[in-house]
Symmetry: C2
Subunit: 351 residues, 2 copies
């Protein structure tokens, strides 16, 4: 172990927590009591609703530390939770962070991870208010719970889409998935080589989308500023196809998504060609985009069209029409929620 590295056992649980939370300040007036008690104390006003969401990330299932820097991992672990709060049309206020840590990690490693979390919290105005830290026999375990609020009656669920509503998505899709393919390719290429320098030239966007995604707070604000309240909303974590089917299933509707309307970045397209992969499949099923997918009434068409970074990609139909992709040549292909099934045996093995 290098000299600058400290074994966690020398600090113990409470020492480690003290080290990690040193100088941690509370930025939300809704946070009355943060870390250091049996529970955090939060204050929400009469006119708001409290939102809660949680995500678990396991080493070698959700992340591979051979190419994911710990600081980026911390940042991403927070952002994916905040994304769920934004997807409710809410504002995240607090998170709790539980960590399972195996013995190969030092205090400095965990500080690096935590530094990424703190940067994300600062960026999004969120307080770390609690957590749990324990020994793990099997790599790193990260479990984050995010708490937020929405004005009473303004939380947007998945079940409010109506026939003729427009289907909209922010940003572009498939880039994070292509970033993952690229990182995996370079990992294979680096095997057994010393001082290997991965080649990401011209593909920086893909790597960033995979390693340091952002939650679309800006879109939630733009919608509010433009007087748009979506009828349904979800964040794209498992792929567009899987997410739109969640909305349609819970809303009791069908949908039509136009292939040629799906926003795809140039770098995503180049990478798909290089890897000889179907670009639309990647955009439909890739996952980890953390863009917002939502529906608005047809009457909001001009309003959403005027917002940069939002694209209308289809519309909601009666349920009997099912969910389908309309291809460039006008054919209709049923959508499949083949997204990411982390519990399928073959998936678990290949990861």
């Amino acid at each position: 172990m290098p000299q600058s590295q400290t074994e966690i056992s020398t600090l113990g649980e409470f020492g480690l927590i003290d080290r990690l939370t040193e100088g941690l300040e509370i930025s939300n007036s809704a946070t009355a009591v943060g870390i250091g008690d049996d529970a955090a104390v939060l204050k929400y006003s009469e006119g708001s609703e409290v939102l809660v969401t949680t995500d678990m990330l396991l080493e070698n299932v959700h992340f591979d530390l051979t190419y994911v820097p710990l600081k980026h991992l911390g940042y991403k672990a927070v952002v994916v939770n905040l994304s769920d709060i934004y997807a409710m049309n809410g504002t995240p206020r607090q998170i709790t962070v539980s960590l399972g840590i195996s013995q190969r990690f030092t205090v400095e490693h965990i500080q690096e991870l935590y530094a990424g979390m703190r940067i994300a919290c600062q960026e999004y105005g969120v307080d770390i208010v609690g957590g749990d830290t324990c020994a793990s026999h099997q790599g790193l375990v990260i479990s984050i719970t995010a708490i937020g609020e929405a004005p009473a009656g303004k939380a947007v669920r998945r079940n409010g889409a109506k026939d003729t509503d427009l289907v909209c998505v922010s940003g572009d899709l498939g880039a994070a998935y292509m970033g993952l393919q690229l990182l995996e390719r370079e990992k294979v290429a680096s095997k057994g080589m010393k001082d290997f320098v991965p080649d990401f030239a011209g593909k920086e966007y893909l790597v960033e989308r995979q390693l340091k995604p952002e939650a679309r707070r800006d879109i939630v604000r733009l919608l509010a500023q433009n007087g748009i309240l979506p009828t349904s909303m979800i964040d794209v974590s498992d792929g567009l196809s899987s997410e739109i089917m969640h909305i349609c299933k819970q809303s009791g509707t069908g949908c039509r998504i136009y292939e040629d309307r799906i926003p795809i970045d140039y770098q995503t397209a180049v990478m798909a060609e290089e890897l000889n992969m179907n670009l639309v499949t990647a955009a439909l099923n890739g996952g980890e985009d953390y863009e917002l997918l939502f529906t608005v009434p047809l009457t909001d068409h001009d309003k959403v069209n005027a917002i940069e970074g939002i694209k209308v990609i289809g519309y909601i139909t009666k349920p009997e029409l099912g969910c389908a992709l309309v291809t460039r040549d006008g054919a209709e292909i049923p959508l499949k929620a083949q997204g990411w099934n982390p519990l399928a045996a073959d998936k678990a093995q290949e990861q």
Copy 2:
């Protein structure tokens, strides 16, 4: 795999979640939206504060499935979180449940675990409002976050103890630890033996305290009914010694705890003698009792004394006097927070 067992991969993540949450009803009016969206939606009134706490449990660190039935594990995993909400003088309302599941678990296994969680939730009037389910390569991972509320200004923290306050504890201490010793002993005795029947005769209480602890909702209610608002409170999860030192450190005080006042069950004492262990050490450092440890002003002496199941075990002092145990012969021994250090290397290895 027996015929009655279903591989999780046949259901997939969403199928498993559907199976687990089938018929799950919302019992709290504070729960507006439960499972099935990006986040749960909770409603709290102007006059209350929201409490949040979280715990992570890892297989072979926090539990050993060779002697912990999955249903009990689920029950306990919920209860230890609720205990933290009660320790704030609050009422738990919701939990989220994240599970990391390795391939040796079947759908039926996870249903068994979840059944225990649901029983605990019913027992304590709590709603399961969200979670995450994913594949794990290394055994079972359970991360639970509990959310609750306390009337505005009534949340009791660890930092309010004052010189001359009385130190009180509910129930009895050390039994859960002795239950663990017993279970470990029978595990060793059973090695290589078929149809081994463990011998728990006369020690049922110890086993129950370890496998199926309860959170002290009744004590929180009794305190309120008797007009007692503790100046500080914590639940005993790491051992009395460690917990009273948390209170004293955060309150800036010292304390005196009387050895002969520490409540210990008869079965605990018998087991300690059998194992040739120091009984007071077990009660001070055993952990997992989930009793409530709290301080009240001296003027509440008669009120707390009148409540069955609460014992005054010492008093708070000025900080310069430090934290000490007063033995039966009047000697003062400094308290040590040797509690459970899950991050100490030797601990991690021995578990």
